[in-house]
């Protein structure tokens, strides 16, 4: 049931970046009792896995040399962006935590506190490899000591990443808005993961 609930959740949230999935639309039209059977049948060829498994598989990428961006939207549909300052993943139960600087993201945090829904993009320069994770039930917590160490490590990773794009360490710190006046941790339950590397497969959910 966990695998099928993921499929349905991703449909409810709408197809992500990438071509819309005719197959998913067919599944969506089935009666509820038949959904599990259909999804599992199709999943058998593609090995539908639990969110815990998916996160575990993507953990190296997510916690690697990536650039983080998060988005929220208010109740009028106005979106806001925040850049991340680091992230960590827990797989059982599946939870993703993204750090952001409070001073740069006040509107973003106010919207998130109201909606608790978030989308996070994990991108790797320079070839645009990226994943997007959508989540809900997002809690906003003060960053702990471990998070500060995570943010310092992320800064070093970003210096390498942005160095590939020609930005020096000092400018990377400007980009991040360092030094941080305060870090907060955004902890959410992932509901869908999407592959976003440009191309015909962009936006396909990982299943």
């Amino acid at each position: 049931m966990i695998t099928t609930s993921f499929v349905f959740t991703s449909l409810r949230n709408g197809a992500p970046d990438g071509p819309r999935r005719g197959r998913g639309q067919v599944v969506h039209q089935e009666k509820t009792q038949e959904r599990t059977k259909v999804a599992v049948t199709r999943a058998s060829a593609r090995a539908v896995r639990s969110m815990s498994t998916l996160l575990a598989e993507q953990r190296a990428f997510i916690e690697g040399d990536i650039i983080l961006h998060a988005a929220v939207a208010d109740d009028e549909g106005v979106p806001f962006i925040a850049i991340g300052a680091g992230c960590r993943v827990a797989t059982r139960p599946p939870r993703v935590t993204v750090l952001v600087a409070r001073a740069q993201t006040q509107e973003f945090l106010a919207v998130l506190a109201a909606t608790r829904r978030i989308a996070v993009e994990f991108g790797r320069a320079p070839h645009h490899e990226s994943l997007q994770i959508k989540g809900e039930d997002c809690a906003i917590e003060e960053a702990g000591a471990e998070d500060l160490r995570l943010a310092a490590a992320y800064r070093d990773k970003l210096v390498r990443q942005l160095g590939l794009l020609g930005l020096g360490p000092a400018e990377t710190e400007i980009y991040l808005g360092l030094p941080y006046a305060g870090l907060v941790a955004l902890c959410f339950t992932p509901t869908a993961i999407f592959q976003q590397k440009p191309g015909p497969q962009a936006g396909q959910p990982l299943v």
Binding site: D75, P126, G203
Partner: protein
Amino acid sequence: MSAVDLTPLRDYLDGGFVAVLATAAADGTPNVSVISDVRYVDERHVALSFQFFNKTHANVRENPRACLQLTHPVTGARQHLALRYLRTETEGPLFEAMKAKLAGIASHVGMTRVFRLRGADVYEVLALRQVVGPSQRCARSEVLLAGLRDTLAALRASDDVEALVDATLAALHERLGYSHCMLLSADAARERVFAVGSAGYPHSGVGAEIAYGAGVIGVAARERTPIRITHMTNEYRYGTVIREQFVATDSSLDLEREIPMPGLAESRSQLAMPIAAAGKLIGVIYLESPLDAHFTHADEEACGIVADSFAARWQILSAEDDEDTDAQDARVDALPRGTPLRVAHDAHDHSVFIDREYLIKGVAGAVLWRMLSDHATLGRSEFTNRELRRDEKLGLPDFADNLEARLVLLQRRLAERDVGVHLEKIGRGRHRLRLSRPLELEQSS
């Protein structure tokens, strides 16, 4: 977020950083993705590359609001732009320019087969917010280049001399950002330039005259060279100083017959650019500012380009205004009723007074008197440029004597005074006199 002007942010659109776009579905689910190409359309619009039928594409059609993050490729500063999706262009210059750029990006990153532009999504920029980093100051030359392109387009689109004058002043004021500017036309016979329009002043000053050699405008006119002054100098101040120079150089001058220059009381930077064509002076563009050292070499170059374009367009329009204008309207208008307008003409300098108030002098005064006289004696209201040029009493020596500018000046002075005499352009090289009161003409010598 601050007022929208994307011009200083164009550097953000060059370089290796991808832009990040956040959108939201109709149900409020956020989406975040990277955008290969963001193109500056104008100071309030951007176009984003649309390559795949993806969630972003679907979202903005359901909900047009979006947020775009741009990163400066050198400083690392970040800007957030609040956007509203307007339309998708799939052909035309914007689309082709983005398609060509995307092809270059695709080739560079080895994704030629993957990157294909389906459309240029055009967004209105609702607001800008700098998130982190040093604030971006746009180089003055950047602003000027962007403004010049629009300015020259506006000049080309002008279909008569009056529109050309208005378009030039509007462009100098609004697109090139000059707070105080004036356009003056040359009267070669009297060695003076007279204001045909201005922008940024409480009073237009239309009709104000400057003698060749007086102040920066007069020196620019006499020497046919740009004059740029970066600090306040009494030597070149207008206002009372100029009036003193008039009196000193021409004892016959009657200050009651002068229209005051609209210039700043404390002008700290000045730039006067002659407008010339075929070796003859057409006029002068004058800019001034209450700030020290406000005009740079770049401003001088930009102003020179505007002057050259003005001259080229002026020549075409002036020639057109002389064509095909032999036909004269023989219609006799019904005479207006009411208290008569007392119009006096001084043949010495062609000064015209309406109800004892000075209106205008020189060729413009002579033209008005000729029109009013014809109206009173022959009942005519419509006049052609060609007949005015052929009238020896008006003293128009040749084609280059800016008849159209004088008519624009006359038209504006009458409109400003609004005493019951108006002149309107009714076609190429044709003007119509409109009176709301009967005339009582008085000639003096």
